[in-house]
């Protein structure tokens, strides 16, 4: 059985220092178990998602049982165990957005992209996601495309933007 380090390294390229960054970060937290969530955040930020080999590496480094790491990684909605699309489109479903028609916007996007909320297109180009509240209620309804918040969204705005990105 190969060690988790080699598994990660095998999939990375020369000059890829993500593992080093992660190691440094864990070291800064003195490999303490309570840093697990912080480390998972960092791992996801670096690698885009939390693969089994990454989770194994983290479990080994923080001296935690793998099942505990997996339990934590699947408890929090922020963490994704599968790769996300190249682009992400997140519809806020907070209350303010909901009463201002977020559900119709989401339905329109689902129709347009052919994706169900929470899934990624088979070609890996787009993930259609929802969130519980961005706190952008003042400009509801809000949609986030690749990290940029669009306020006062209508059915067309996000659609046009997605076309720009994907076409």
């Amino acid at each position: 059985m190969s060690t988790p380090h080699t598994q990660i390294e095998r999939t990375t390229h020369v000059g890829d220092n993500r593992l080093k960054i992660l190691e440094a970060m864990m070291k800064r937290h003195q490999y303490r178990a309570d840093a697990l969530i912080e480390v998972l955040h960092k791992g996801q930020e670096l690698y885009g998602h939390l693969s089994p080999s990454l989770l194994t590496l983290i479990a080994h480094s923080l001296h935690l049982p793998p099942s505990r790491v997996y339990g934590v990684a699947t408890f929090y909605h922020f963490f994704s165990l599968a790769p996300q699309g190249e682009h992400t489109c997140t519809v806020c479903l907070g209350t303010a957005c909901y009463v201002k028609g977020a559900a119709t916007i989401l339905a329109a996007l689902e129709r347009e992209t052919g994706l169900r909320a929470g899934t990624t297109s088979p070609n890996g180009r787009l993930s259609l996601l929802t969130t519980r509240c961005l706190g952008a209620c003042g400009i509801a309804p809000a949609v986030v495309i690749d990290g940029t918040v669009m306020g006062h969204a209508d059915d067309d705005g996000p659609r046009t933007k997605l076309h720009e990105l994907l076409d």
């Binding site: 969530i37 955040h41 907070g94 009463v99 952008a136 306020g151």
Partner: protein
Amino acid sequence: MDLTELHGIAERERARRKAIRIHCCTSLGCHASGALELQRRLEAAVEAAGRADTVEVVGVGCIGFCGHGPLVSVEPSGLLFERVTPEQAPDIVAALDGGPCAAQRGDPNHPFFSRQLLVVRRNGGRIDPERIEEYIAAGGYQALYDVLHDQSPAEVIDAITRSGLRGRGGAGYPTGLKWATVAKSKGAPQGAPRKFVVCNGDEGDPGAFMDRSILESDPHLVLEGMSIAAYAVGADQGFLYVRGEYPLAIQRLSKAITQARKHGLLGSQIFDTAFDFKVEIRVGAGAFVCGEETALIASIEGRRGQPRPRPPYPAERGLWGCPTLINNVETFANIAPIISRGADWYAGIGTAKSRGTKVFALAGKIRNTGLIEVPMGITLREIVEELGGGTADGSPVKAVQTGGPSGGCIPASLFDTPVDYESLAAVGSIMGSGGMVVMDDATSMVEIARFYMEFCMDESCGKCVPCRVGTVQMHHLLDRICNGEATPAEIVQLEELCQLVRETSLCGLGQSAPNPVLSTLRYFRDEYEERLRHEALAEEAP
């Protein structure tokens, strides 16, 4: 750092400032509407107009009128501009002396502003949250200095107790009492003799953004409040737990912590006293239940955010078994003002049992969406009609939802209810953390109940049976009612389930999950009944 240095920083900052400050709001709402580009254009326009010697452009925290962003205000003239486009930047510079301007003028004397009373938001929209000097120039960290040098921990706790401040996270537990409990708690017999202060910034209530705004606009105010609390209860380590959905707040807080540490306002021997205090940020990862104290603790410890039965309370046994003070962002933001201006001043605001001000996030079907800070005791009508200006299209307001998934919907007929902990509870809702979502006739109250139940179902941690399965069953019944498939007996079953989940769930999430259903059943039962299956079922006829 000593007092001379603190005052030196303030004086240098005041000397540095230019006569005219153009404030450009860079909080999330305006940020998303293009505030950063606008700020750049304003800076260029000032330069181009040759006024750089007297005019500066400052990126500030939330001005509050989020629905009308991007917002720009000018000091000292008080001019306000709304929905400003980058192209209007030169126009605004040209209009500094009061001349005509193509940009939309806002009314700074509008009830939305004039009816507010700013305590925790007094720096919001006035200082650059990324520069500690601006906070210090506004009187920041003086309160911390004063308590460290002139007051005993007991005196601080006494002041907070006398101020009447209650927890702003929603439940309204008296803050002074909580501090006193942590202060005298010795912790578990075998436990390490440490204490912790935790700031709960896991603002999970969908439709609420008060804490985000405070953290983005005035991070040092929260840090100072935490430091004072740590001194009062005897803690040397703090954690700031912030939702992962708030990257801007996290970024500004990290910056604020670095700056405070650099100036010796966090760390060891603060203000040359024996008081040490360090703060770490913990980023939430998307779990509403982590707003619950014991789940929050589990999450900071790096575990699944599942609550445990209380007692023991975190004040006795919290993080790693040590006594832990947990207060919410807005609660901590109130501390420095109370210390600076006195408990009596604070206690003079609001009502007999609910003192001080409360920040609300006004959103939904309302003309003036945004962030407001009002004295307790103001009526819902004043908030919705005067500050909020009613609905955007003038249609009647049907209800206002307070307290999010743990709260309830209050019908327009009860809008004369004063906003205080007890009155809101009496009408079947809660104060909550400050989300206030306005609904008009186009909003179906049954669908709103289903919306919240879906939220609770998705956010249930799964530990206790009534919440884990009960919310699914309640959602199923609400779904059937919404789809016109339910019989009258199913409403009865729904009510029974509400009772069960409320009385038997382990934590506050489950115990309050039925509230949106119960309150809508109480005030809008006709909307449920209209949706029942009408055709009499032959086989069940008597």
